[in-house]
Amino acid sequence: MQRHLLNPYQHRQSPIHRFPAAVKLAGAVFFVFAVVLLPHSAWPAYAMCGAALVLVAALSRIPAIQLAGKLLLVEPFAIGIAILSLVQKNGLHVFADMLVKSTLCLFCMVLLSGTTRFTDILGVLRHCRIPPLLVTTLALMHRYLFLLVEETERMLRARKSRTFLRGRLFAWRSSATVISHLFVRSSERAERIYSAMCARGWRT
């Protein structure tokens, strides 16, 4: 299982951590849009953006190794598209631009997730009158995410210790079984959560 990205928020104290979540969120979104709107090959501008991010990173006291690790984790999909971009007129320029812009934006979002709690972001969304149903869904998802991941790991371990047959097909079948059990258990838990909500007076 890939758990490496699961706990982005660092429980640290730093000037950046103490900023209100709304400011950080707005700043990050603004920064990302600005970078995407920069003209092609605007290298001085790219450098300035990069410098700004490095400054924020330094102030946030997130260990550089952790940041670097997250930046270097590249998705095969992104690599694939990047390679495809070379196959066109001005391909190399497009490729370079894309690489720099996406790295800058990724860096920015990694900083955001490393210095901001999701629960604070939820508060911001509520303030912005985002539909309550969406906010509730996001809140419940985030609350039970880690629990479900732990349940999944437990089930996987239990399966592994009972399976003596190797081979891809068995691995697929057992992973699929874990997923189906996970859904059934999540569904049952959702019913109990509903009961718990009603028990404290929730009426729709």
Binding site: R117, H142, R192, S195, A196, C198, A199, R200, G201, R203
Partner: protein, 248 residues
Amino acid sequence: MNALEIANLSYRYPDGTQALRNLTFSVKEGEIVGVIGPNGAGKSTLFLHLNGLLPQRFGEEETVRVFGLPVSEPNLDEIRAAVGLLFQDPDDQLFCPTVREDVAFGPSQMGISDAEISARVTKALQQVGLSEFEDRTPHHLSRGEKRRICLAGVLACNARILVLDEPTSDLDPMTKRDFRALLRTIESTKMISTHDLEFVAELCSRVILLDKGKIVADGPSLELLSDQSLMIAHGLEVPHIIRHLHPH
């Protein structure tokens, strides 16, 4: 007026199994009652009737009364505020993003002012000894802390009857002791279902023994718990603490 009055309560699961058969008992205000019995006895099912979560639709017979109010549609809000039900798995009950929001959940359904809600949250967290936990996320809490927060959640509703379903099932001995001490400091009627007979012996003055949906015995805890033949006949045993005090 009794805190709780149950008269001929029966319940059948959707699949046809009879879960509860003609239960009749009452609980006085301030009593601490332990509900014990083997697995499948119907303890949890009984508790779900105390605040109207079961049955799904109410019939003509008013079989459950809380402080004189029948548990049925028009009274549900009041009853659910008065009956603080703590579920077996605290993760089912701690569904809000932060501790403060969760403890505030109950009061916020009651239509009271924000200032009042804040005050109740602070007081409830103080009562359970977790005042500095307001901004924490539930996921990072220990089992014992989660149970305390759940307790704070129902205290914030000004619950007058605490109904606890297996409150110590996954706690280590020290946490169990602390939780027991905490419960002693809270003055309200309590109904506790548990397999932990030591816990019952130390906390509850009265015990109801449930088996296959029927009340098999109902009386002072020391007397019931030391009745070896009764305990064994219903899949239990005499707790060590009583054996130690009354070696036969």
